[in-house]
């Protein structure tokens, strides 16, 4: 259970307050709001990168030296990977074994691409690699921060198809942050409006 009640963060003079969020495993919740209200900050906070400030919050417990059960998918796959490393190194870093190989085929990715560097793949392919990297066995929740905003509609549809199927199979809770109301309408169980 991922829960945030009366969360806020202070940015200098500015005070950003967050809407209340409740996300159970197996549930898909959308968050929509105009750009610039701090949606990425919310994602970073739930992922534990920005310190949490809230009246009441609960996050799954994180074991030391193990991957965070709340994984964060960022907007642009291009920035999610170290440009100097091959994708194999990047995936090995999160999985610490090569159990991800069968997943590659499910996601329509070629295993030979693992030897490439991020600048040799398209945005859609990178975003799928990014997703696989986050889908380590311990993952319980996914925070998707505008993950398909930079993709064309066909790639976008494929991406969500893959993601929703996996979420269903593995009983993941997914928080979808987007400003596309149709997308949220199509995939979410309920939508939180900022």
């Amino acid at each position: 259970m991922l829960r945030l009640h009366k969360g806020y963060v202070r940015r200098g003079e500015q005070l950003i307050t967050f809407p209340d969020i409740e996300l159970k495993r197996g549930e898909i919740v959308g968050v929509s709001g105009p750009s610039g209200v701090g949606k990425s900050t919310l994602a970073g906070m739930l992922a534990g990168i920005i310190p949490m400030q809230a009246e009441l919050h609960s996050l799954p417990r994180r074991a030391r030296g193990k991957p965070n059960p709340v994984q964060w998918l960022i907007q642009q796959g291009e920035f999610a990977f170290n440009p100097r490393l091959t994708l194999k190194t990047a995936l090995d870093e999160s999985w610490q074994c090569d159990d991800y190989l069968p997943l590659l085929k499910d996601y329509g990715l070629d295993a030979s691409w693992l030897t490439r560097r991020p600048n040799q793949l398209s945005g859609g392919q990178l975003q799928r690699f990014n997703l696989i990297r986050a889908l380590v066995p311990t993952t319980q929740f996914l925070i998707c921060d505008e993950v398909t905003a930079h993709l064309d509609t066909i790639t976008q549809a494929e991406f969500w198809q893959h993601l929703l199927a996996t979420a269903n199979k593995r009983n993941l809770g997914v928080l979808v942050i987007s400003h596309d109301p149709y997308l949220l309408e199509a995939i979410c169980d309920h939508i939180v409006t900022w």
Partner: protein, 236 residues
Amino acid sequence: MLTVEGLSIQSDAVSLLSPLSFSLKQGEVLGVIGASGSGKSLLAQALMGQVPPGFKLGGKVISQQGARRALAAQSASVLDPLRLIGSQLRYAAQRLGKRASTRRHYFKLGGNITERYRHQLSGGMAKRALMAQACWQSSEIMIADEPCCGLDVEAALAIYQHLAMLARDEQLGVMVISHNLRQLLPIADRVLVLRDGRAVEMTTPAHIRAGACDEYTHRFWTALPEHWESERVAVA
């Protein structure tokens, strides 16, 4: 009027853009769609006469009466990091003709944009600055590369409406590269579809909506979330 004949980008081994022919009339909005990596941005660059190093530009781009072309680039990295946005735009407007003043009202930029540097702009502000820059250059042809990528719905809508108005009121030829079909189709007169550096077809929004187009083109339309079949949602 801009006429493109057999425009291509090739090296000895690789072809990034296969020969491509189309025209763009004044007062017309031409949409360009395609998957990422299909050569949309390359087409925009080729029209401006730029190619990646090691590649050759083929074909001809004929613009009647020496119509000037302006490109609103995809990322803010083309803006000078060391000068205020306002001073860069004033320079663009002064250098290129008198018509700039009449076009000023298309992309109104407040002091919150003109009095800032590149790194202080948010994504939406940077896009507006880029559009204004291209617009004020008093060109006859304007090419906008992903003008609304990463903007929220209202901001994107405002930019698309401005582009449509530019074409209609100022008789500009506007080429919009986008993957946002929902917002592109209402303003586009014709749509060019690219796939792997080749033109699939030249069609119109009405045809795309009706499905009277290439199967590949139609897939872009049906892949919009509002057209997803309910079974897909049921999977979730």
